[in-house]
């Protein structure tokens, strides 16, 4: 079916691979084989996967090949190998959430997002590693191994969807799903040099996904390009009667505006916050990215968001209290089953007062209203995704400036917390590399349910730059 080399196949984007499968120029069997070979070659270094479905993926690939030869294409992901974060349920297959607590848990239903991917023809090639129960930003998993960054395996891949980020960047699959509560899709996307979107709360179903913090949890794709991200998003977005939190809002074709450019797009900047307290390389890369977009016809506008300070505390309060409620029984019955860092966070979450939690939830409304007001004069906001590049594996603190050590958790969510608290969609796009060749990402934040504009801006940036075409040398 194909005369392309294995390396040619590995380097295809998701959209390219899907197109070639549709044209019968590439077989799903070959895509699965090159992906499995790549996993076999690199997973021992990366720990990106907890479970790999070798036999199942090969069987599904053969069926997918037969179907496409017979002229039947299931959907836009027909025959494409995809990774799923291991807190997303798959019927009949263990779903660990990266934990010992659920090490043997086998769901009896697919998560809605998994069912939609499979319905569109995707082949789930494996379950990706994560920070235990998604409660942390490093993916240093004590039960299934620390996930490592393919750009430098001595560095972390961020998290909590670190396995999904590393798996995609290392070309072991063409896309992966992650979950994002406080930044867990965008952070690994940024430090692994790939695209990743946190959707508007309610845009994508959470049904069948193990929760972290119910009021902020979302599911989003991580992919090599913005176009790939839009293709996957088309499949998973939309109302779900099984999830009461899922909004009954029509789904657009998120690929339709990818070539529209950014002429006339107004980009909001909050200079006192979004360009404050970050490493110089990150500052410069995001500022240069803004310049690129201005050269393409966008305009940058300084915006004041009066109450943006305080968002980290609100996030820590909500994101610690809600998981502690979910884990209350296990924490009492099997505290030793948790890794030390997650156990500590769950115990801390029991020690806030109710008024702290309620004030944090009120703050979220306040901040959201301020952003919605600001969106009357801008179309998107742009800021760094995180204030530093990948840190050494296992570090619990980070130095951003002035030799001051800071707690990793608070530092890492400095910029991702705003969309998480406000429910706004946010797309990470690679925008540079530091002196150690470590990727830098920027966030494009949009209006509720306006993911199409994020993809539009991100695609225009990728049309003008080549950061997304670079691959780690593994």
């Amino acid at each position: 079916m194909t005369t392309r080399t294995k390396e040619d196949l590995v380097q295809l984007t998701l959209a390219q691979a899907a197109h070639l499968v549709e044209r019968k120029e590439v077989s799903p069997v070959d895509l699965v084989e090159v992906s499995l070979e790549k996993i076999a070659a690199v997973n021992k270094w990366l720990n990106a996967y907890i479970t790999v479905y070798e036999d199942e993926a090969r069987q599904v690939a053969k069926a997918a090949e037969a179907m496409i030869v017979a002229g039947h294409r299931l959907g836009p992901l027909h025959g494409i190998p995809i990774g799923l974060k291991d807190n997303i349920g798959l019927k009949g297959l263990r779903t660990t959430a990266g934990s010992k607590v659920l090490a043997d848990w086998v769901p009896d239903q697919d998560a809605t997002v998994a069912a939609r991917l499979k319905g569109a023809g995707a082949i789930v090639i494996g379950k990706t590693n994560l920070h235990e129960f998604a409660w942390g930003g490093t993916s240093a998993n004590p039960h299934y191994g620390f996930v490592r960054n393919p750009w430098d395996t001595e560095r972390f891949p961020a998290g909590s969807s670190g396995g999904s980020g590393a798996a995609v960047a290392a070309r072991t699959c063409y896309g992966a799903l992650g979950t994002d509560t406080g930044g867990s899709v965008r952070l690994p996307a940024a430090v692994n040099g790939i695209a990743g979107i946190r959707p508007t709360i309610g845009r994508v179903s959470n049904y069948g996904v193990i929760p972290l913090a119910w009021s902020m949890d979302t599911v989003g794709p991580l992919t090599r390009t913005v176009e790939d991200c839009a293709v996957m998003f088309n499949v998973i977005a939309g109302p779900d009667p099984k999830d009461n939190g899922c909004a009954n809002v029509p789904v657009e074709d998120y690929t339709s505006d990818l070539k529209r450019g950014v002429e006339g797009i107004r980009i909001g900047i909050v200079p006192d916050y979004f360009f404050h307290h970050l490493q110089p390389a990150v500052h410069n890369a995001v500022r240069e990215a803004l310049g690129t977009l201005e050269n393409l016809g966008a305009s940058a506008i300084d915006v004041n968001v009066e109450n943006i300070q305080g968002n980290i505390s609100a996030q820590l309060t909500v994101e610690s209290c809600e998981p502690s409620a979910y884990h209350q029984r296990w924490l009492r019955e099997r505290p030793e089953a948790y890794g030390e860092d997650v156990r500590l966070l769950l115990e801390l979450g029991e020690m806030h007062l109710a008024t702290h939690y309620i004030q944090a939830q009120r703050y979220r409304q306040l901040l959201r209203q301020e952003f919605l007001e600001a969106f009357k004069s801008v179309d998107v906001f742009i800021c760094p995704t995180l204030p530093f590049t990948a840190t050494p594996v296992g570090e619990m603190s980070v130095i951003i400036e002035n030799d001051v050590e800071e707690d990793m958790l608070s530092a890492i969510m400095q910029f991702t917390g705003v969309p998480s608290l406000t429910g706004l969609p946010s797309l990470n796009v690679p925008c540079g590399y530091d002196n150690d060749n470590l990727p830098i990402g920027m966030q494009i934040i949009g209006r509720p349910f306006d993911e199409a504009t994020l993809f539009r801006v991100g695609a225009a940036f990728q049309e003008a730059t080549d950061f997304h075409t670079r691959a780690p040398a593994l």
Binding site: V249, L348, E350, M351, T355, Q359, Q365, L366
Partner: protein, 75 residues
Amino acid sequence: MIERIEVSEATVRTLADLAGLPLAEGREGLLAPQLSEWLTAANELNRKMSEPKYLMVTPATVFTHPSTQEETNDY
């Protein structure tokens, strides 16, 4: 600016008892420094959200209705 709270190990033990959390021995010392940071910041947020101009702000955890949804979509 709210003064920094120093949570003692004894306070951690009391909070755990109040929550019905059987805290293993020795964990108070691990929790106290982080809890001091977090509660200081949380009290600062309490102060902000108690300002008279924000008294009408409702928590994010309310039931939503179709009309709210439509209004949100205007943006």
